[in-house]
């Protein structure tokens, strides 16, 4: 019976609206009866909820409203009782509708979760099962258009997978035997058989969802305060109503206080902003871990960047080269043959630049620490390395070569020189490219009010200075080990700056943890998700300004909502004392309107975009 009434709440709301309309416009003699029926019908679901709340010792808003309505009926003010119940029911209907909107962004995300899988049974046939019934090690079949149900490895077949749900990157990725596939991604073509490696909440997608879900309901200090406050606030309103009644013997006034005192907008205001802000982030490739993070990030005045892989692509390339003497083809062949022996990152860049060439057999390879490689190819002695190695090998550098070296270094290159039989043949300048668009993004951060942009790097000071000059950063520090970076962050924190650290999340975890806000450029798959406060999906630097702007807006939105909620209660109580026109119905109307106002205000965040 109770459940039946509760499930018919919307119909009841509609019926009481019709009855009230009849009573007002109909001018029949049934006026009062229509209002009485509307009151009784309307108070039924509210009363049930109030009763259930009292059973678990909670004085909820339902309790206040129920008492107020019963009071109104007792003093035969049927108009008030009918309208108040109607407004309350209609208000909660609208609340539910609009709240669903604010939560829609995150809901879209969770709905991407796979629900079923084609699992290989003991007889070798595939059968559709619930994704919860898939275990690690199971063999699954994924057909074109289907979602990959778990994290796994391709055993048979190939195809293209859209990994947007994990990485934010919507260009399909080619997968073949032994490729890793991720739950929640979509197979756009082909058919693959996979082995399940991780299931449910252990999958990358599961972890992202869990993180976002926890984030949208995480509470800041202010919210916990509001929660504690409202626990006592509602009973206090009830007590106040009783006291007023005892002293004034004015039931009308007492029940009006009960209605005016309802704390709805206050409790709901901050969570609404929070869920809409985090939802906007999730949609735009920014994972924000909760409202505390939003508040801290919005106050950041200093952003510290790791250089390699953050401001730069992290993949050094040959940017400039010069040849000396004849037969550059032969020299490149020798160079490639020797560099193949090395796993140094510069060697990789050199090989990539040379591409296909004729390789020769290399003998007597000797690695000179901090210098390079010396080896023999046939009768020739080949030296590949830095300037120091050339000096050690007594290689003469011409005036032109010396000038080239200075120029290359000034341009921020690391140098690789190659000499054949003591003669310099090739000079290559290798540098890490700055990510495209980073400069513009950094300017946006400045416009958003960030005062200091600092780069820390393990590279030499010259290279770091060059990046800093190019990107117009405020400070640049090179030659830094990971522990020196975190020491530096501690040092500027002591000066009272609020710091965000942006890094790749792997070797910078101490700094990520230490900074007020740790921002990981994660492809969504690494430890980054665990250690940081904010994750930029798909390592997309351009989401950083959006993230900062969003947290600023969200934080402002929360404050607006608190102001609206507190303001409305104050104004209502004041007008009760000082004005004639205030009554229960108007009170309920204003109160419900304030709830809708904070929800609609929060909803604005879903559409937030950084202004260009």
């Amino acid at each position: 019976m109770q459940r039946y009434i509760l499930s018919k709440k919307n119909s009841i709301t509609l019926i009481s609206a019709i009855l009230i309309a009849l009573a007002f416009f109909g001018r029949f003699s049934i006026d009062n009866w229509a209002l009485i029926i509307a009151s009784i019908l309307g108070v039924a679901p509210i009363g049930i909820q109030a009763y259930q709340a009292l059973k678990v010792k909670v004085v909820s808003i339902d309790v206040l409203v129920t008492i107020a309505v019963i009071g109104a009926v007792l003093i035969q003010n049927y108009e008030e009782s009918a309208i108040v119940t109607f407004l309350f029911l209609f208000g909660s209907y609208l609340e539910q509708r609009t709240l669903n909107k604010t939560r829609s962004a995150i809901k879209e995300l969770t709905e991407l979760a796979p629900e079923s899988a084609l699992k290989q049974m003991e007889n070798g046939e595939y059968e559709e099962v619930d994704v919860d019934d898939v275990e690690e090690g199971d063999i699954l079949l994924v057909k074109t258009g289907a979602k990959v149900p778990v994290d796994g490895t391709v055993l048979i077949g190939e195809g293209h997978i859209n990994e947007a749900s994990i990485t934010g990157e919507s260009v399909p990725v080619r997968k073949k035997v032994d490729s890793e596939v991720f739950a929640g991604t979509i197979l756009e073509n082909g058919t693959i058989q996979i082995r399940s490696d991780r299931v449910g909440e252990d999958t990358t997608f599961g972890r992202i969802i869990e993180l976002v879900e926890e984030a949208q309901d995480s509470k800041s200090e202010a919210e916990r305060f509001i929660d504690r406050f409202s626990k006592f606030y509602t009973p206090a309103v009830l007590v106040l109503g009783i006291i007023v009644w005892l002293f004034s013997k004015d039931i009308e006034l007492a029940i009006t206080i009960l209605v005016l005192g309802c704390p709805g907008a206050l409790v709901i205001g901050v969570p609404v902003s929070n869920v809409a802000g985090i939802g906007n982030g999730a949609r735009n490739g920014v994972l924000l871990k909760g409202s505390e993070v939003i508040n801290d990030f919005s106050r950041v005045d200093t952003i510290v960047f790791d250089k390699t892989g953050t401001l730069t692509i992290g993949n050094p390339e040959v940017a400039e080269k010069e040849f000396y003497g004849n037969n550059p083809e032969d020299v490149l062949g020798y160079l490639a043959s020797v560099e193949r022996e090395s796993d140094h990152p510069l060697a990789k860049a050199v090989l990539q630049n040379i591409g296909e060439t004729t390789l020769s057999t290399v003998e007597e390879t000797e690695v000179i620490k901090g210098g390079g490689i010396v080896a023999k190819i046939g009768v020739h002695r080949i030296a590949v390395g830095n300037v120091a190695l050339m000096e050690k090998e007594n290689v003469k550098l011409s005036e032109k070569a010396k000038k080239d070296i200075v120029r290359f270094e000034k341009n921020g290159n690391s140098l690789v020189l190659a000499a054949v039989d003591g003669e310099l043949k090739v000079l290559m300048g290798i540098r890490d490219q700055i990510r495209p668009g980073v400069k513009k993004d950094l300017q946006k951060l400045k416009l958003l009010g960030v005062k200091n942009l600092i780069v820390l790097s393990g590279d030499n000071q010259g290279t770091v200075d060059l990046v800093a000059r190019e990107l117009e950063l405020t400070e640049a520090h090179g030659h830094m080990l990971p522990e020196e970076k975190s020491a530096y962050i501690e040092q500027i924190q002591a000066k009272g700056q609020t710091i965000a650290f942006v890094g790749d999340g792997v070797n910078d975890s101490p700094s990520l943890a230490l900074a007020n806000i740790g921002i990981a450029m994660g492809s969504g798959t690494d430890v980054a998700i665990e250690t940081s406060d904010v994750v930029l999906m798909n390592s997309d630097f351009s989401r950083l300004p959006h993230a900062l702007g969003l947290t600023k807006s969200t934080s402002r939105n929360m404050k607006q909502n608190i102001t609206i909620a507190v303001g409305v209660v104050l104004v209502l109580l004041a007008s009760l004392l000082f004005s004639e026109w205030m009554n229960m119905s108007i009170g309920m109307l204003v109160h419900e309107a304030s709830i809708l106002m904070v929800i609609l205000n929060g909803m604005r965040l879903l559409r937030y975009r950084l202004r260009e």
């Binding site: 709240l99 309901d217 626990k231 409790v267 929070n274």
Partner: protein
């Protein structure tokens, strides 16, 4: 100890969290500190001792308040 994740129909009223919290906390065999009522996600997460109480008892306590349970999952904690 077992870990329950209970998905409810959309929670929209501000005081429902408090009601659900008190109702579930009052049950014998649930770990009070582990209880989390997620308002926006409309979920209840709680650890419980499967020898004292079943998942159905917890579900019933919530449904008796008027919040229908959509689905529930139990894992070993």
């Amino acid at each position: 100890m077992q870990k329950a994740v209970i998905q409810l129909e959309t929670l929209s009223c501000p005081s429902c969290m408090q009601k659900i919290e008190n109702a579930v906390k009052g049950l014998n065999g649930v770990n009070q500190d582990s209880l989390k009522v997620l308002f926006n996600a409309s979920k209840v997460k709680v650890d419980f001792d499967s020898e004292t109480i079943t998942i159905n008892d917890i579900k019933k306590a919530i449904e008796d308040l008027g919040y229908p349970v959509v689905k529930s999952k139990v894992k070993s904690a």
